[in-house]
Every structure is written in C-alpha cells, then in structure tokens.
C-alpha cells in the first residue's frame, strides 16, 4: 500500500518537468551563485566571538585583554584557565569565531618593533575571514590605547634619527614624559610601526582542504531546497483533498495514516536525491570531499530530509487550501532558512538570532555537515544534531497523522 503511494509520487514527479527543474536543476544553480558570492568575505557590523588564552598572565597582558573586551564588535568568551589548545578547539568547534593567544615567549608585549617574534597568536577559521578583519582592527585600537607611550617613543626615535637631533635636555624631558605615561622603557634601537609583527596568524585546517565556506553553502542551500521541495510535495495532500482523491484513499483499510506514510517516504527519498545533486556539484565543481565522507553525509542527509518531510506534512495538514499553503509555506521556509543560516552565515548574526536558529532544522543540519566536512568528527559527536533532525521529522509525522483527520 505504501509502495503504491510512493509510486504515484515518483511517477508524478518524473512526468512533471517543472517540478523536476525546481527540484534538481535550480538548487544546483542557486548553490553555485551563492558559493561564488559568499566564498569571499562579507562586510558589515557584527559581533565577533573571541576565545582568549593568556599564557603570560601578567598585569600588562591582563590590562590588554580588559581593554580588548571593551571594544565594540568583540565579545570575549568568559572562560577560566583557557589554554592555546582550548582556543583552537573553540574555533574549530564553531563556538568562537576567532581565537587569540597571548604567548609566553619572552617577547616584549608592548614594543612591537623590537622583536621578530610576535607576542600574540591569532587562531582563525578561514570560513570566517571577516571576523579576523574585525579582530585586526580591534587589536590595533586596543594596543594604542593600552600602550600609548610605546607609539610615541617609536615616533620620537624616528624623528631623532632621520629628521632632527634632540638635544640632551629634550631627550631627558621626553624620557620623563614617557615614564609619566607609565609605559615600560625600551632600548635605543629604532622601532618600526608595522603592526603585522604584533601577532602571528594561524589558519586551522578542516577535514577538507576546500574552503569551508563552500561546504557550508552546500549544506545551507541543500536545507533551503529540502524545505521547499518537501512543502511542494506535501501540498499534493491539498490537491488530492480538493480533487476527492484523498477521500477515496482515506476509505482504504489503512485510512489516512497510509497516505501520510507513503508521502513521507517519498519526500525523504526525493530530498536525499536533491541534496545529493547539490553535493555532487560541490564535489565536482568546488572539490568538497563528498566521497571521503559518504557514509556520514548520507546519514546526515537522510536525517535532514526526514526533518523536512515531517515539518512539511505537518504544515500542509494545518492548511485549508493549496493557495494558503503556498503563500504561508514560502514565508515560513524563508524565515526558517534565514534564521537557520541558509542565507547568511550564522556567525554573522547577532547572538540572540543565533540562539533562535537552534529551533530550525537548518541549524542542526548545518551543524552536522560542519561536523563532517570541517571538524571531521564521527557519529558519536553528531548524535545530538542527528537526534534533533530525526526527532523533528518524527514529531512532524506523528502530529500530521492527527491533524490530517480533519480532512475527512
């Protein structure tokens, strides 16, 4: 019986060119567009979540971090005894957008021109390049605010050596002034105001060498179209209600439950194939390592399709007409997708919007895909997102079984 309904859905899809184009060609095209647009950094105001480890632990380094935490656009994650390894873990796990380690390597912290070894290590996720730029600007500002004497001293030395000679009285006055600014003294070597030497940057490498933004948008676009195609498929319920087919099927021994089961199975398979097409494009065109992660990808995609099918059937069973379902469905899907990170990377969103994202299947699916393609994690680390997706789908199907009864 379920197979019969499944077959109807399959034949209906195969014979509907519009649905085929919408389901299997458009997603790939849109993915390519998104990938090209967003693989570079995006601009705008945002709050960067910063994981910090202070290996030095001096009053000076603490003052620097205090000033950094006061910077607009920087949110220092409050953790105790964070280590460099912890910072890397936070960045790789997505809990922090970027990491900063104040190294205990003997380098003068307040004299960027004096040594070739930077006192600070910046840990980055290449897919969040924009957060590095934000941090870079904040570091300059905080450095100059924290160590104003260091800059002034360097400037004075350049003036003394290249443009004019200070006399003894002027040198003494300058040194007294610098001491008064409570800045540490430096030796007489000339300084360079090249801020690049203040920190070293290290890019974390994911499970794939492909830019993580590409893998991210493959998942993001996949979820968007999963929801759209599942909603379109589920709307056949309303078409069948209007044509009388639903009443007829409902008189069968299996009742309305069989109708939903058949459609659910089809929507899951259709969704799986649709996401497969997107990832094949991502693999062939952009080098996303799909073959290397095929089993985990398949499990995640099935779970994501499961969630989309359940949500779509529940939503449609709550609608009265196809027109209503189309209009409300488009709005709902766009909102869910925007909140869930299918349109804009979640790290660019304000924290409360990021929290709202956990209510959407998009966020859970993106989390699961990130586990696979960025962090290279196994099934045990993906249990939570997978359970969230499967649970959403199952809950949707069960609730739809109740709400569909009002169709009779």
């Amino acid at each position: 019986m379920r197979y019969a309904l499944f077959k109807v859905m399959l034949l209906s899809l195969v014979r509907d060119r519009g649905a085929l184009a919408m389901g299997f060609i458009l997603p790939g095209v849109v993915f390519v567009i998104f990938a090209v647009i967003f693989s570079g950094a995006a601009g705008g105001d945002l709050t960067v979540k910063l994981a910090v480890a202070d290996e030095r632990g001096t009053a000076l380094s603490q003052r620097f971090l205090d000033n950094l935490s006061k910077e607009a656009g920087i949110m220092v994650l409050q953790t105790t005894n964070m280590t460099a390894a912890g910072v890397r873990s936070f960045v790789k796990g997505g809990s922090a957008d970027v990491g900063l380690v104040i190294l205990n390597n003997g380098t003068a912290f307040n004299d960027i021109g004096r040594t070739r070894v930077p006192p600070i290590l910046v840990v980055t996720d290449p897919s969040r390049e924009i957060s590095v730029s934000v941090l870079q600007g904040a570091l300059q500002q905080v450095y100059f605010a924290t160590f104003p004497g260091a800059v002034l001293k360097g400037t004075a030395k350049i003036l003394d050596q290249r443009f004019m000679r200070f006399d003894a009285r002027q040198v003494i006055a300058l040194e007294r002034g610098l001491e008064a600014m409570n800045t540490p003294t430096a030796d007489s070597e000339p300084v360079e105001l090249n801020f690049d030497k203040f920190y070293e940057r290290i890019d974390l490498v994911g499970a794939s060498t492909v830019p993580t933004s590409i893998a991210y948008y493959a998942g993001a676009v996949a979820m968007l179209f999963l929801l759209f195609s599942a909603a379109n498929g589920a709307m056949t319920l309303l078409e069948e209600k209007e044509s009388g087919v639903f009443d007829r099927l409902a008189t069968g021994p299996g009742g309305t439950g069989v109708i939903l089961d058949g459609k659910f199975a089809f929507l899951v398979l259709q969704g799986f194939c649709q996401v497969l097409v997107i990832y094949l494009v991502a693999w062939i065109g952009f080098g996303v390592n799909l073959p290397g992660h095929l089993p985990m990808w398949a499990v995640t995609t099935l779970a994501a399709a499961f969630a989309a099918a359940g949500i779509a059937l529940l939503f449609v069973s709550l609608c009265r007409t196809k027109h209503q379902a189309q209009v409300l469905g488009n709005i709902l899907i766009l909102v869910i997708s925007a909140l869930g990170g299918s349109m804009v990377p979640r790290f660019l969103m304000p924290p409360f919007v990021q929290d709202l994202g956990w209510l959407t299947p998009n966020t859970w699916a993106l989390e699961a895909y990130a586990s696979i393609f960025w962090r290279g994690e196994g099934l045990s680390e993906m249990i939570v997102p997978l359970l969230a997706l499967v649970g959403t789908g199952a809950a949707g199907l069960v609730l739809a079984r109740f709400t569909i009864r009002r169709f009779a």
Partner: protein
Amino acid sequence: MSSARWSADKLPNHDWRDESELPAPDVDDAAMLRIRGVSYSYPERDVLHDVTLSAHPGEIVVLLGPNGAGKSTLVKTITGQVRPSGGTVTINGKEPGSDVLARRSVGFVPQRIAIFDKLTVRENLCVFGEVMGVARADTVQRADRILRLIGLGKRANDRIPVLSGGMQRLVNIGAAMMHGPRLLVLDEPTVGVDNRSRGRLRDVMRQLRDHGLAILLTTHDMEEAEALADRISIIVRGEIMADGAPNQIVRAVFGTKQEVRIVLNVAAQTRHEHETFCSMLEQLGLRPSEEHSVWDGIVDNQTGHFSALAKHVFRPNEGVVEVRIRRPGLRTLLDWFTEPSP
C-alpha cells in the same frame, strides 16, 4: 412496514397525503448494507437523524435528496470516514468505522473524478487496488479485467487527460472496483457527463448490479434515479422521508392524482377571460406564479375538474400556451417533500 415511522411531524403538511401507504425501509438480515437509527451532529446542527436504510446484493438503491440533506455525511458513515453519534452502520455484518474488512467490502466512487491525472488508466486502477489491499502481483490482471468490463480495454495505457469526461467517470468507477467490493457507493457519479456517456455509465452500473453487487447511488438527478433505481430513499434535512420502489412511493403519496401545469399567455386574454380562467384554475387546486402566467399543482382526477378544464383548454384559445397533465414523477415527489406546504 412500520407506519409509526412515518409520523405526520416528519412530513410536509399536505392534506392529501396518505401516510399509511408509505413504505418503510426494509432492513433485513440479507442486506449487504444495513443502517439502523443513525444520527450525526456537527456542533451547530444535526446532520442525520434516526436514519435507517439498506441495500441488498443485486440491487440499486438511489439515495435522493436536495443539496445539504445529509447524503454526503451518510456516505461517510458507510465508508468509515465518519462515526455516527448514534445507531449502527454495518456492511456484511461488520462496522466500517472499526473493521478493516468492512471497509474493504466497500467501493467508493466520489462525485469528483478522483484519480491521478499523471498516471495512465491502468496505473490508476493498480494504485487504488493496492491501496485497498490487493496484492501487487494481481493488480495488473485485475485492472485489465475491469477495463474490459467498463469498455476501456483499449485505453489502458492512455493518460487521464486525453480521455473524455465520460471515460474519466468510468475510470473513476473502475478504480473503486479493483478490490472486488460487495457494496459500491457512488456519490453523484454522472455530474457533468453528456447524455451518451451517461447512458454508458448507466449500462455499466446495471451490469455491476447484475453481477450481484449492492449499489448505493446518491443523486439529485431525477432522470438518473428513475432510470436506475430498484429502490429509492428520499432524505430531507437528515431524515429518511420515504423508502421503497419508486412507483410504490409515488402511488403511496399521490394516489390517483395527476400533476398539472398550465402556461397562459396573459396578453392574449381579455381581463374577463383571464379572471374566469384563473378562478377555474384556483378551484382546480393549482397555484399561480407571480405573474399568474404559469399554474401548477397536483390534481385529483376523480373530482371531475379535468373535464371542465378540458372544455376550456382544448378549444381554439390563444390565451393557453401549454397544458401538461402527467403522473407525478420523482421530481414532483422530491419537491413535495422539500417545498414548504401550501
């Protein structure tokens, strides 16, 4: 026959009704479909009230009623989609609301053409067969047999949109036959079908009846009811008003009375002629339209009024456009049950 069932409060207040002659529903143990005292209510109104009805193998029962009479709700209680709030519905002794086998005994043909238009004729039949529990391996063979029966054997591989409306209706019926039901329930099966296709559909229904199926047909098409019904049940405002062979009910309700309709050309009559004529028609018991140009009603032939009428209408008279006298049919019967009393 239970004359108590036909109490006066159920019927319009026509003074010439002979309610003791009305046949009562026959619900015996041999009936395939047995509906006893079924009631159903929506929060705001009663839809069915104490409905009793039956259908036997090899019989076409027509459920006749105006729109909103409760026909569709009654059908839903038969197909198990709605559970009655009172009374019982059984099909071959089992309740369709709770028994899968009972639901499998019913073939339901909805009013609309409820088939998948992207599938072929054969694929449609196979799908509905499977949904009703037919083994997948048997569906094609069954479908081809049914397609031959309904005369669509050569159109098995055609998609639905290329078929005529009448053929689509036949597929609609064929889809309900796939699982070998013992009771076929058809909800307005010939709506929007041309006369030729209508004839073909009726032939198919008679064939199915002759194969031993019990058939329950809902309609408000009197011609169809008269052409097909072995028995009719008239349902009005959720109550069965009459049940029996069409002639039997008509005879019980109208006796020897005749249905008379006279159309006048008022402009061709003098005022005096018109008033005299209208006075006579009033005495005959006919009721006028608003313009007093059309008069109709049920007239007792035994009163001698007809001969008086004949004197006026059968002489050269440009004031009379049409005279129709006939035995009341199902339309008159239904109007009698549904229209307000004079």
